[in-house]
Amino acid sequence: MRREHEVGAVPRRQRGNHREWEPGRFVKEFPLYRLVAEDGELVGPPDEVTLSDAEVLKLYELMVLNRALDERMITLQRQGRIGFYIGSIGEEASILGSAAAMDEQDWIFPCYREHGAALMRGMPLVTFLCELFGNAGDALKGRQMPCHEAWRPGRFTSISSPISTQISHAVGAAWAARLKGDPMVAITYFGEGGTSAHDFHTGLNFAAVRKLPVVFICRNNGWAISVPRERQTGSETIAQKAIAYGMRGERVDGNDLLAVHAATRRARARAAAGEGPTLIECVTYRVEGHSTSDDPRAYRPAELVEPWKRKDPLLRMRRFLARRGALDDAGDERIRAGVREELQRVLKEAEAFAPKPPLESLFEDVYAEPTPLLREQLAELEAAVAADPRVANPRHSDA
């Protein structure tokens, strides 16, 4: 390890050299990487395409499912059947393109919009829906808010609400894999708002100083609830933040499934080869409100959204596939109909579960074994429910 400062040659008569960043410098230094234009034409180097048409078609199907799922669940929330929903409308390519670029053994550390990646990793749709209901079919025993799923069999980790905490988890897992000699590369997701959080800084710094195998995906969707990207950071691009850590950075058209896939694939390969982590900025847009709790009309003029509707990632892939003769209108309609039916069927299945997990589940999994205190508290709660059913039923209690 070199322990001496590297100061470089010190030029004589050198003038004060504080760096001013001419406007546009980093936009130029990190040009938007794109393979497919909005009209579906392949505009990038064909040898950089990392997906076959059949693979694109499969991902397109998943995008359609993801979109339909989001739309349906937003409706369900409005109907009061679930309490909350947060989805990825408009950001599907950023999520699915990158997740698909990872290998089977790789771990995914999601933010809260990556439900499509959970499904890709084999989480049954019904299990996902049960999580939204928090019912007896929920793999999480009804413990978390909707959209905070976890799916261990698919190495899809547990979602928490606090922003960006997952970033250093990904770094730690990658570090562990390296120590164990496993070929695992971790991928983690966050929004551009999440780059302001503490854990973005420590996560990227730890990863870069150890050259750990991590791919950092920033979904730069322009908004953190009501806060526009310009109020979030003074940097022109998110990608340039990689420089602070001596890490690679890349800016990608986040609505271009192929570009996201190719960039992630390259980042993964470098990470696996011991060349360290990459920060990928997927430039995309949050076309809807932040979540079902939000109404963007209070802070965002509708005109801003319009151009992004035209950049819809599903539309682009549909056009791409159409150009390549891999998907026609009838085929597309078949996919959509299939998705609608599946959703309908699985929704029924999910709603058939008992609405609540059992009482004792409240005290499980706090520790590997319940402590005496928790056993005491369960007994206390059971006695209370027995004494007064209102304990377990708010309708009889609230004023």
Partner: protein
């Protein structure tokens, strides 16, 4: 007098204080144009402008750290933490910096600010939109901690907090943000920090609660009354400083006490109250001080009503304590 809910009362207090004192500024995530995710700062951006109603980047540590710097320099910042669950990234700034700044500089500097944050369960928020972390801050010397339960107190105590020379954690009971309505005087008035309020007189036992759970305690007291049990109810309002006198006086009279809070029982503020009361009322006690609280688990989603110490559980405890 107009009727307001707690959000409106908070909003009114902020507006009045900002009009009165140009040094009062509001900052946080989404507090600007949007007016806050619970709309507590609604309209302030329009009235006072982007300079005094400041959207910040997404970093609670940065919000509190910069608020501290503002306070040192002479502003009166009122930072909002969007949910109390998200106060922990700012924990170091609050407990190691804000709380200790006056002491460590021997009074050369001080950093009065009011950290507003909605807390507590009951809105189907799961682990991360339901926590009640008041104990951490009560344990930290140098901070004041208040929790109003109703619009009148919310407005009066927020005004007091903004004028207070010390940093104040102002926990807002989001479960009753809109449900708790009441008459609120127009214009400014103060509700002093450090004074509890006896909201119901009684002789059988003392119920102590604050924030959302005060409503459950009151309801339990009403139901107990129907059974002929005559509860005294205290709305604590201020956890630090604590109105020990009011508490001790009540418990010496009733000989029995139940503390109700949402946070997990172990090391919750109920523990401190039990410790103080058994110490100061020892010879008057006819039953142990009893705690009806959240359980020692993370806050659950589906079973949140089972988790919360609502009126039926309080009522059960009342029956047990009076017949001890």
């Amino acid at each position: 007098m107009p009727t307001m809910n707690i959000i409106q009362a908070v909003n009114d207090a902020l507006r009045l204080e900002m009009r009165r004192d140009p040094d009062v500024v509001v900052m946080g995530e989404d507090v600007g144009k949007f007016g806050g995710v619970f709309r507590a700062t609604q309209g302030l951006y329009d009235e006072f402008g982007a300079d005094r109603v400041m959207d910040t980047p997404l970093a609670e540590g940065g919000i509190i750290g910069t608020a501290l710097g503002m306070a040192l320099y002479g502003l009166r910042p009122v930072p909002e933490i969007q949910f109390a669950d998200f106060i922990f990234p700012a924990f170091d700034q609050i407990v190691n910096e804000v709380a200790k700044y006056r002491y460590r500089s021997a009074g050369q500097y001080s950093c009065p600010m009011v950290i507003r944050t909605p807390y507590g369960g009951g809105i189907k928020g799961g682990h991360y939109h339901s926590q009640s972390p008041e104990t951490h801050f009560v344990h930290t010397a140098g901070l004041k901690v208040v929790v109003p339960s109703n619009p009148y107190d919310a407005k009066g105590m927020l005004i007091s907090a903004i004028r207070d020379p010390d940093p104040v954690l102002f926990f807002e009971p989001k479960r009753v943000y809109r449900a708790a309505k009441g008459e609120v005087p127009e214009g400014e008035y103060q509700v002093p920090i450090g004074k509890a309020k006896v909201t119901r007189e009684g002789s059988a036992l003392t119920l102590v609660a604050w924030g959302s759970m005060w409503h459950e305690a009151e309801q339990a007291a009403r139901e107990a009354e129907a059974e002929g049990i005559d509860c005294e109810v205290i709305d604590l309002r201020s956890l630090q400083p604590l109105d020990t006198d009011t508490l001790v006086q009540s418990v010496k009279k009733t000989g029995r006490a139940i503390v109700v809070h949402e946070a997990p029982r172990t090391c919750g503020f109920g523990a401190e109250l039990a410790a103080i009361l058994q110490e100061k009322c020892f010879l008057h006690l006819e039953a142990p001080i009893t705690r009806v609280t959240g359980f020692d688990t993370p806050f659950p989603y589906t079973l949140e009503n089972e988790y919360l110490p609502r009126a039926p559980r309080v009522l059960k405890a009342i029956r047990e304590v009076v017949s001890y």
